[in-house]
């Protein structure tokens, strides 16, 4: 394994962002809960302590034994991490009178400090803390301050230990990436050679070694994760990989045919499993969202099983699990050790005695996309929005019928096409899949978008006639992690154009609304 930085998580909501910022700098890193410190082997180049919702002054504050780390490896404490270093090593942390949240201006006191190399002396940082460091730990020297927090950053003399009260990992800290880069590439001496190409090279080699001549089954969904997993495995073991692409009859317009053809063009060994009619008849008369989901889940497993069993001698089931699915989170009450079985395909592994292989499980979503691009996968597959497993069924509120699917597919097709065709380069919006570049069209600017068919009718007029038809809702959100999401600020002319086209072209729709709710309290999908 190559060089890496270890991030120890004390439960901050933005810990994952530290990882993502480092990976953007081509530095490999792994996140562990504070109470599951991994063994410090020769590949470890440095350690970062994350923020936390706790206060170091609490009786049950998260504790960690730093004896094998501090002074031995480069160490960076962030927020709680900084306060922990002060609190444990001879300094003092107090509850501050004014809690400090949001933007502050950082004033660098020691421009010679390697942590601030090349940074501007005055820049915006993001603060989120109730406690403040009143006295620095032994050997502590202030290297930066803000107006209200004098110990905003410090170092410990004689060892490569640094601490910052602010959050360098969040977007609003303008020099954040540089500071993390100075730590990882400068202070830790990482080479920064973790690139999509190097990932592909090492992963293909290790898959070859791990899988040998074994046969592998993979479920393809048309989504980014499974597609990239498929192409990687194909590169490693060729046609020993058999992919199954299930048509649940609830996909977008022409999606099954188009994606299946694309997979075949990519030389993937793929079986199309068309079970549309089973799904549609299984959903007849079912209105309750949970019941719909369960039926779809069950039918998916049945279909997948049926086709998988025909693949003789299969030894492995591959899954497109990604890093956010496997990171254990250090919750406020300790450790939520349960790992999400996100892409789990029912009880198949046990039944067929299959071993699991997850080639993407150390990658964040944006890295999966970068790897996909490096693998030469078409942009329309790599840049795809996330799409729910139960597909359009959760966007038809209430019962799913062929007629409603027709209406929704037509409206969705107009909307998605409209997003792709709208040139937004003049708006300078960051791309949803890579915030460092600007989106060329609205589709790329949005995290997830779809149309929802409402289970009611409303009055309208067409020509001189009164209509009584369904409204559809447009949904478009921006998000970095799907945990929170904000509705997208469309140019009004786009909304006017798309709603007009939908009403004029889709029979059965006479009204279009736009969902202007953030998550929370709303969710991205409606059911």
């Amino acid at each position: 394994m190559a060089e890496k930085i270890i991030i120890l998580d004390f439960g901050s909501q933005v810990t994952q962002l530290i990882g993502r910022r480092l990976r953007e700098l081509n530095v490999y890193c792994e996140i562990y809960p504070f109470n599951k410190v991994p063994s410090m082997d020769g590949d470890v180049k440095g350690v970062i302590l994350s923020g936390s919702p706790c206060s170091v002054r609490d009786a049950n504050a998260p504790q960690i034994d730093l004896s094998g780390i501090k002074g031995k490896y480069p160490l960076l404490g962030i927020c709680y991490g900084a306060q922990y270093l002060a609190h444990k090593f001879g300094g003092e942390v107090e509850g501050s009178l004014a809690r400090e949240y949001g933007r502050a201006m950082l004033d660098v006191k020691d421009m010679e400090s390697p942590l601030f190399k090349g940074a501007t002396p005055h820049s915006q940082v993001w603060m989120s803390h109730g406690d403040t460091i009143a006295r620095l730990p032994e050997g502590g020297k202030v290297i930066a301050s803000t107006e209200s927090v004098s110990n905003a950053a410090f170092r410990i003399e004689g060892e490569p230990t640094y601490a910052v009260q602010f959050h360098p990992e969040v977007f609003h800290t303008t020099e954040g990436s540089r500071i993390l880069g100075n730590f990882a590439l400068g202070i830790c001496g990482c080479k920064g050679d973790w690139t999509p190409d190097s990932f592909i090279e090492t992963t293909v080699a290790s898959l070859k070694e791990q899988l040998g001549d074994d046969k592998v089954i993979l479920g393809l969904s048309g989504g980014v994760d499974s597609t990239v997993a498929g192409v990687l495995l194909n590169k490693a073991i060729g046609h020993n990989l058999t992919c199954i692409f299930v048509n649940n009859g609830l996909l977008r317009k022409n999606e099954y045919e188009d994606v299946l053809a694309t997979y075949k063009d990519m030389n993937l060994n793929v079986i199309g499993a068309d079970a549309s009619s089973e799904f549609i008849s299984g959903l007849a008369g079912v209105t309750e969202p949970e019941a719909k989901r369960k039926i779809i889940g069950r039918l998916f497993i049945e279909t997948f099983d049926k086709y998988a069993k025909q693949i003789e001698g299969a030894r492995w089931l591959a899954q497109g699990t990604i890093y956010p699915d496997v990171i254990e989170s250090a919750g406020i009450e300790g450790i939520a050790s349960k790992i999400k079985s996100h892409h789990n395909v029912g009880g198949l592994p046990e039944k067929m005695d299959l071993k699991i292989v997850e080639p993407l499980k150390m990658l964040f979503k944006d890295e999966v996309r970068r790897v996909g691009r490096a693998l030469g996968i078409k942009e329309e597959l790599v840049g795809r929005h996330p799409f729910p497993g139960p597909s359009l069924a959760v966007r038809i509120l209430g019962e799913v019928t062929e007629e409603k699917l027709r209406i929704l597919r037509e409206a969705d097709d107009i909307y998605i096409r409209g997003l792709r065709e709208y040139d937004c380069s003049s708006l300078h919006i960051p791309s949803a899949s890579d915030p460092r570049i600007e989106a060329g069209n609205l589709y790329d600017a949005i995290w997830q978008a779809g149309v929802i068919l409402l289970p009611i009718k409303s009055v309208g007029v067409m020509g001189d006639e009164r209509t009584y038809e369904s409204p559809v809702a447009l949904r478009a959100v921006v998000s970095t992690d799907a945990m929170t999401a904000d509705w997208f600020h469309f140019p009004y002319d786009f909304l006017a154009r798309v709603s007009n086209e939908i009403i004029n072209k889709v029979k059965g729709v006479n009204r279009v609304v736009y969902d202007i709710s953030s998550k929370p309290p709303a969710t991205i999908e409606w059911e």
Partner: protein, 317 residues
């Protein structure tokens, strides 16, 4: 006839009408259904000026009024203008009749018929009424011909024979407003947005329930308050909320919620025949959404209606 655009012209109109009304009514009694809208309010104020307590105004609260509306009618007419006001709270009566009725046409019919019935009952309780005043305005006559009376009391039974008084029937809406202002009516009444006869009933789509009606009333009040605060009152022709009869998923306090959406409608029109949506600044929409989902129980989502008329109508039912 010269159009009434100035206070002076309005004053002249008022003086002339007061004199005519006094001559015609003498010492007899006049009945008026007072909805709280600008037309019936102006007629009431004119008649109060002319014949005082000889006017009996009946305000029927059908439970489908906007927040604070019935209270405003009572405050302005009973407290400030010392009117002879009969206030009928018929909320239960209407909502019981409407329970379980989902068809829009049927809802409208029930509300219309019940309104006449309540008004008729009140009319029968009163003795010696000779005149029925109505807030007919000129476009009503043009639209429906001279016979059909546009306002809700048209369907009174034959045995209740009143002579009609329509003092503003030659005025346009904007003239009515100038007169109303001159009569001292509050701006919120004079410049009130158009409001359908069935009230919130057509915005609580499908079968009306009390809790959803309450969510509608509260969200509508928030929208109106925010439009007023942000300079959109008077600029946007008509704006209101709709609470449809279905729910969707959300998250509240880390738990799954299953609540209604609120739909915002805000349109501009010159003639009510065609309408375009108002391009509300997103910052304000954010704020309104935030207020609605936090302040209105039972709501987890807000939608903005993008549909112009045609193809959508301004109202949903």
């Amino acid at each position: 006839m010269e159009r009434i655009t100035t206070a002076k012209a309005a004053q002249a109109f008022i003086e002339e009408q007061v004199k005519e009304l006094r001559d015609r009514i003498g010492s007899k009694k006049v009945l008026l259904a007072l909805s709280g809208g600008v037309d019936s309010s102006v007629v009431a104020a004119l008649l109060i000026k002319a014949v005082g307590k000889q006017l009996v105004s009946v305000h029927v609260n059908h439970g489908l009024l906007r927040k604070g509306e019935a209270e405003q009618v009572i405050r302005v007419f009973r407290d400030e203008l010392q009117a002879n006001l009969v206030y009928v709270d018929a909320t239960d009566r209407f909502l019981d009749k409407l329970a379980g009725i989902a068809d829009p046409e049927q809802k409208r019919k029930i509300i219309g018929a019940e309104f006449i019935r309540v008004f008729e009952e009140e009319a029968r309780k009163l003795e010696g009424i000779s005149f029925l005043a109505q807030g007919t305005i000129y476009p009503d006559i043009v639209e429906s011909g001279p016979v059909k009376s546009h306002h809700n009391v048209g369907g009174l039974p034959e045995d209740l024979k009143f002579e009609l008084i329509e003092p503003i029937k030659l005025l346009y809406k904007d003239e009515v407003r100038v007169v109303g202002k001159e009569l001292g009516l509050p701006d919120s009444m004079v410049f009130r947005q158009p409001f359908p006869g069935p009230g919130l009933g057509v915005r609580c789509t499908g079968a009306i329930t009390r809790d959803r009606l309450e969510a509608l009333r509260e969200s509508d009040a928030i929208l109106r308050e925010e439009f007023a605060k942000n300079g959109l009152e008077g600029k946007v022709w008509q704006y209101f909320t709709i609470v449809p009869d279905y729910k969707s998923t959300g998250v509240k306090d880390n738990k799954r919620s299953w609540d209604w959406p609120v739909i915002i409608r805000a349109v501009n029109t010159r003639d009510a025949m065609t309408a375009t949506i108002e391009e509300i600044p997103y910052k304000l929409l954010h704020h309104i959404t935030q207020r609605i989902v936090t302040e209105v129980p039972g709501v987890n989502r807000v939608l903005y209606d993008l549909t112009p008329k045609p193809t959508g109508t301004i109202e949903w039912e």
